[in-house]
Subunit: 345 residues, 4 copies
């Protein structure tokens, strides 16, 4: 059993609170937010939880072992660092920080103190993404491409671009399911509202192998699409997160190569490239709520001092790509190499 | 009534022949192909049409006014130039030529001789694309983006990449429906089969305005997708060519801007960016076969010596983009400026 | 502001409680259930609400004006009658009672005492069904048919058949949107589990006009379908409740009649029956939670002593059809006439 | 190699002619139709085929072994009987005849003369329906229900109702895939155009076992639906004929029965009925054109004097159901028993 405080009770915070309140190995002690009307709503629902506008109260409570941070991205670093320095482990909303350097500092601080840093990459705890990782490891063969479209008509964020709001999901999923790590990233995007960050963007991840990864994110689409195509040398996958029950479809399809008889005047044998089309298969998926499993894992990691699936390093790798994508976008789409070593080292 | 010959009776040629045979203002006189087994099939279906393996027979027939060319891309220029020099107008499969320079030479030759050059951009003659142009001109407001996904598990072409095979359709459609012309193009792609041209690619078209255009083409996708999203300041469109009857859906959706009261410490008023979601509307579309209308227009242009909707210039603009996209791809995705003037001039 | 008690905190009760707790013109005073573990869950969520296993406590509280009943169907009548006799208005889960006679008695009792009887026909308070009623009244012309498929792989109910569980929704919707009242009903169905009520059924409603109404309900379907087709002389509608945003589609389609020239030997002119296919239109729908609106209306009716949209009579009409459908099913599908007058009268 | 004549070159005849022309073991010698403009179209496409308005020419040609009949239903019997009496085998459009008695007479005549009678139940020769039969035989367990929806906005037939036009497909498929034969049929339907046969209908087939079969056919639907749900004790199937590639989906879903501890006061153990939801599987289907396989089988049957898959008996069983359905419809939907023995016997 660990004692937990939550800071931030806006869009995502209520989900953290609801799941933490139901968690057998967590004792939700505090919720902190600056907006009193939000806290009033909380009070009537969870009368046993202490409410405060002062983050210092959470830090001062010796029964608080860990703090979950669901505030705007720009505040993640300062709050998480204060928590770590007070000896509390942290569970931070995605993206973990606003810069890679900040993420590195958090990791360093936590390591020095023997504390846990987790980043809330919720999707990797869904049954669909766990199945995706298993399929990629076992069935797909060489992965040729990963193509994700994540668009809808959505609320524009004031402080972050659509990449930091939506593409972060795809980057977190790819970090989890793909064996390979990208070498560079290029991005193009556009803001259609003066003074506002990009509301649409295309990201290309470049790898040392023949894998292509591409993400389309858009807050200005007429329809909601959440669809990823993954092509492998043996099988292919469509992952459609909006499908109610068949989110993952595995196609036994691919290309075939047959030698052709050389034509007159041709020196070497050519290969005839054909394709094969076989059965499709939609595996039954685990439908446990991802956030619940993720918080249970975090509580267990804090208790046993182990690493969570999405640790600070995972959060850092994703922020490095987002940071580089922003640089590429500013340079008109030129590829930007990704740092592989810490700037702090 | 014009006399017509067809050269190339492979994949697309039979469609040209079937439509020309039914056209009231065309007299289909010859079909030429190098493979005799194809011609045998033709002979039993169209006994009145003359069959030959020698293209010179078409050129020598004074009753032939125009020649339709449905051979591999690499042969378009030579065949079309011979036809023009023999005084015949030409209707050339897409893409019009293998290089922009070749297209310019055909246009020049035709202009000098007062002949018609048409390129077979079939899609722009469909009811769906004609409606798209009308919507963009009248209803959408400022066009923010054009995003097309055209993927399937398809036969690899030996001589051309997936861009020349599939993206050419999107470029032809954009050339027809968008008022703006792109300034530059960038492209990334990959071949997953040694010795074969790219089987997947992403193209970005760059404009002088805030319009973004993006095309994803792929021969290695598990499912067939033909979907274009178009966002405008007033309305948005989904064009799904695989929908049997509702190919075009118009959404009365978009963003709204409301001034917000300035927060303490902020100097200027911020705008709150919201969105509105209204009705959707799927207009009834003209379902006449596009190729029939297109060939009827071509025959009429030859008779009256007028320009077809997709003339040599349209074909040239598309080939210029494909050529620049190939250069960008070779340079790792760096944008390549598009020539606006003839290299011949 | 009215005082409210809820009896039954199983599947649907928590939704009533959540909505009543948020309702400005209701004071949720009591929740009653026989299972203590359910009440424990409730206590931590709503500490201000009084909890009891004894229904008499609700009846005895003079501040309770109305009681919402979300218990098994077989208990509706007894609980509602006790409530009415204690001077409380009632809001009863669908179907209102297990027999038409019971519903008639409740209506009679409430009328005598000037109390409100409402039945929870939730769907008729959704934006989709309200739009359906509007379309039928204004746009569709003469309604030719109403065809609903409501199937899924679902939990079998022990006490009621699939008709009383699922078809009740369609009957409630039809009661609200169609002007006409059925004259008779026929039904076929089957139980595939020994000792269990029917798990699939087909209902036909017979009208005095040319309207056909048909409902297919099934707990044993591999996929979930919630789709209604409505054909009118002017327009047609598809209502798909599983569509996330375009639940209602209006098609400008129908038949056309053109006189044909009489053929040799035919005496009278025949009509050529053709069809026209026009635009499709998906109106934006009100997305307010139906149950909230419904309970707000109920509270207001109790305060002002007015009739709710779904009053006891509406509940009675639906139960009469269900009862007759059960009789038809027992007779192998023969049509059973619907009573139009009270058996009590 | 058999000699073949075709009578009827309207809607379906051209498909017969195209397939017969391509068939290696058939020699298409004659096409007969009463409308000369149709024959003119034919002449230009198939110059080698003899054309006539006089059916007697086909009967008189000793090289004609078989006649394919694609005329209106009301003429099937007379033409087929003339053909049989002239010693020709027959391939008759569905439904085989306008009455069961006519079908019996054709079968009797053919048996007496050792000729082949085939009915064109095209669907049973598709890859999808062949797979359905295989699944029902091997995987589904006890079949609980067969539910088909076959609706669209369609051309009204003047001479036959929607049952004889559309439901005939479902009856032919069920005859082929289900082991059981129906005992009785009930039907309701409506004509919404004065003087026209029914444009919508619902059919229930009654069996001696717990199988339910239901068909909804409609010419007045706003959208096209071709979907069959089949529930079995082990697996369930969705067959959607409009799906381009995944027409058959097999769901590993069903109900489970667990004994429950008896409650106080209950004598016997109750069963808790739950459900299990497992993987879905879409087998790759044979995509050969059904009509081609069917005609090849017919030609082979004529050569070897064997029975085709859909012989006269299959045609008769389907017509018996259609005839009884018409009687049920006239009686307001009362079930009508199906004759199992010949009226001629």
């Amino acid at each position: 059993m660990i004692g937990v405080g939550v800071v931030g009770y806006g869009y995502w915070g209520p989900n953290l609170v609801r799941n933490l309140a139901d968690l057998p190995n967590a004792d939700l002690r505090w919720v902190c937010d600056l907006q009193t009307e939000r806290l009033a709503r909380l009070r009537s629902r969870y009368p046993a939880v202490q409410i405060t506008e002062d983050f210092a109260n959470l830090l001062a409570d010796p029964k608080v072992d860990a703090i979950a941070i669901a505030t705007p991205v720009s505040t993640h670093f300062a709050l998480a660092m204060r928590a770590l320095r007070a000896g509390k482990s942290v569970f931070v909303e995605k993206p973990i920080t606003a810069t890679a350097e900040q993420a590195e500092r958090l990791i360093e601080e936590a390591d020095r103190r023997g504390l846990v840093v987790a980043v809330d990459h919720t999707f990797i705890h869904t049954g669909a993404v766990k199945k995706l990782r298993e399929l990629i490891n076992k069935d797909l063969g060489e992965v040729y491409y990963y193509d994700s479209v994540r668009v809808n008509l959505g609320l524009f964020q004031h402080d972050v671009s659509v990449m930091w709001d939506l593409a972060v999901h795809d980057l977190a999923i790819m970090d989890y399911v793909l064996g390979a790590r990208p070498r560079a990233v290029s991005a193009t995007g556009m803001s259609h509202v003066a003074g506002s960050p990009e509301n649409m963007a295309y990201l290309n991840l470049h790898f040392d192998c023949k894998l292509m990864a591409h993400v389309h994110v858009n807050w200005l689409a007429p329809v909601k699409i959440r669809r990823t195509l993954i092509g492998g040398s043996n099988k292919m996958v469509v992952y459609d997160d909006l499908e109610p029950s068949e989110k993952i479809k595995v196609y036994d399809r691919g290309i075939t190569l047959d030698p052709m008889a050389p034509k007159a005047g041709e020196r070497k044998n050519q290969m005839r490239i054909g394709y094969r089309a076989g059965d499709m298969f939609a595996p039954q998926l685990d439908i446990t709520e991802a956030l619940g499993s993720e918080l249970a894992e975090f509580a267990s990691c804090v208790e046993k001092n182990t690493k969570p699936t999405a640790d600070g390093e995972a959060g850092l790798r994703v922020v490095r790509i987002l940071e580089a994508a922003g640089q590429s976008l500013a340079k008109g789409g030129a590829p930007v190499e990704l740092a592989r070593e810490s700037v702090l080292a």
